[in-house]
Amino acid sequence: MSIPQQKVLALNGDEAIALAAKQSNVDVVAAYPITPQTIIVERFSEYVADGEVDTQFVCTESEHSALSACVTASATGARTFTASASAGLALMHEILYVTSGCRTPVVMAIANRALSAPINIHCDHSDSMVERDSGWIQLYVENSQEAYDSTIQAFRIAEHLDLLLPVMVCLDAFVLSHTLENVKVLPDAAVSKFVGEREFIQVKCHEGTKVPFRLDPKNPITIGPLALYDYYFELKRQQEEAMQKASKIIRDIHDEFCELSGRKYGNGLVDAYQLKDAQMAVVCVGSTAGTVKTVVDQLRLRGIKAGLLRLRAFRPLPTTDIQKALANVEIVGVMDRSISFGGQGGPVFHEIRHSLYESKPHPFIQNYIYGLGGRDMPPHSIEWIYKDLEKTLKRKMVETRVNFVGVRS
């Protein structure tokens, strides 16, 4: 496939996502504004007001209602999109499980923002990390280009007939959401063709016939029934099965998009940088990876074998890819932009450490909590992490498993 001519636009992450949603021919957007996501739905409402899209735009009175409207719209077969962050996402918590449980493939952008209290509008990953068990696929992006690309891919992933799982596209507050970047955008027709029309599996309805899996008065079905100890467990098992299938599908759709756009992000699940011969690896998610890459380049010039593994997919967790990518490193420093109080480290640390349990020999592994509430993470702080890893290697012993970088003491 030849790569179509792409325009370069100056867009922030929020605008890039709004444009991607527009080009993906979304049928329904139900949303409630919250910083730093606001620009996404604001821009989208402008598309609606200007008649550039035929999307039904539903203004709701809360995030709980916004996602409820999305679930219902999606259940009728509509391609559905929304966006939120922080307290807004927390208010959606109940409906996140309803979305995944009803297998309604809603796509939601999350502009990762700290949770209150104290109130804070800046970046950390507390809001979406706490939702990692809600049955949503989670993709964390490094820059606005990836935010654009991932949103387009997200509709294909969510609506894939083997999955029917909602997808969160997570981008760092302000660092990405409000910062202008050169973003290459595909022509409308190319995106439209890539995403295609939503298709439906067939289900047996209570009239005994097979009908498309969507609410339609002509072919009535019941979605979201009561299931107690007799069937609840089986339905949860189905969700886990779909999640297990998701890794391959995320990768395939990422590869297909790469053919269209010429852009790729590792294998779609993990993005390794200078890891082949690395002695020390840092693992992180989100925009910090960009800064880490710069530090890796500087360290490499000094002959230090530093590398980076960025997780693009956090749910499903690409365990095998993590094991492979970190097979030859001697030490791993895991960066967490959120904290699990009392959990002996952050969520990314927990997942990486658990993924490496079967690796032989185990690399040393240390956790670095950073950037809470938008605290800056400059290159010298990342360099400090690599120095700290070096010290542990010399000492041949982990002294402090969980470290705090950038906090005054």
Partner: protein, 95 residues
């Protein structure tokens, strides 16, 4: 509750019901059972209108109301509202 043993592979996605709700006999949730005394009944049919489970029907030939005990959950609203006190709630002796 109707007992089933289907596996997770064999049931429809997301709990889409493949059976009509009438196959679930919710009547066995009942603790108290409405018992009808036709001689006291004024045939106002208030009971059939207010029954939350639509479990009370008017039988035109016999000119009596009939209870569908497969679905009556024994809430007692009918007995409480009956102007002629023609319905009494009796504790189920049941297993």
């Amino acid at each position: 509750m109707t007992r089933e043993t289907k596996s997770w592979q064999d049931i429809p996605i997301a709990g889409v019901c493949w059976k009509p709700a009438t196959e679930y006999h919710t009547g066995d949730w009942r603790t108290f059972k409405p018992v009808y005394a036709s001689e006291k009944c004024k045939k106002c049919l208030l009971c059939s209108m207010i029954c939350p489970d639509a479990a009370i029907k008017w039988n035109e030939t016999k000119e009596v109301v009939e209870f569908n005990y497969d679905f009556c959950k024994g809430c007692g609203i009918c007995a409480n509202e009956c102007p002629g006190r023609a319905i009494q709630m009796i504790r189920e002796s049941g297993e």
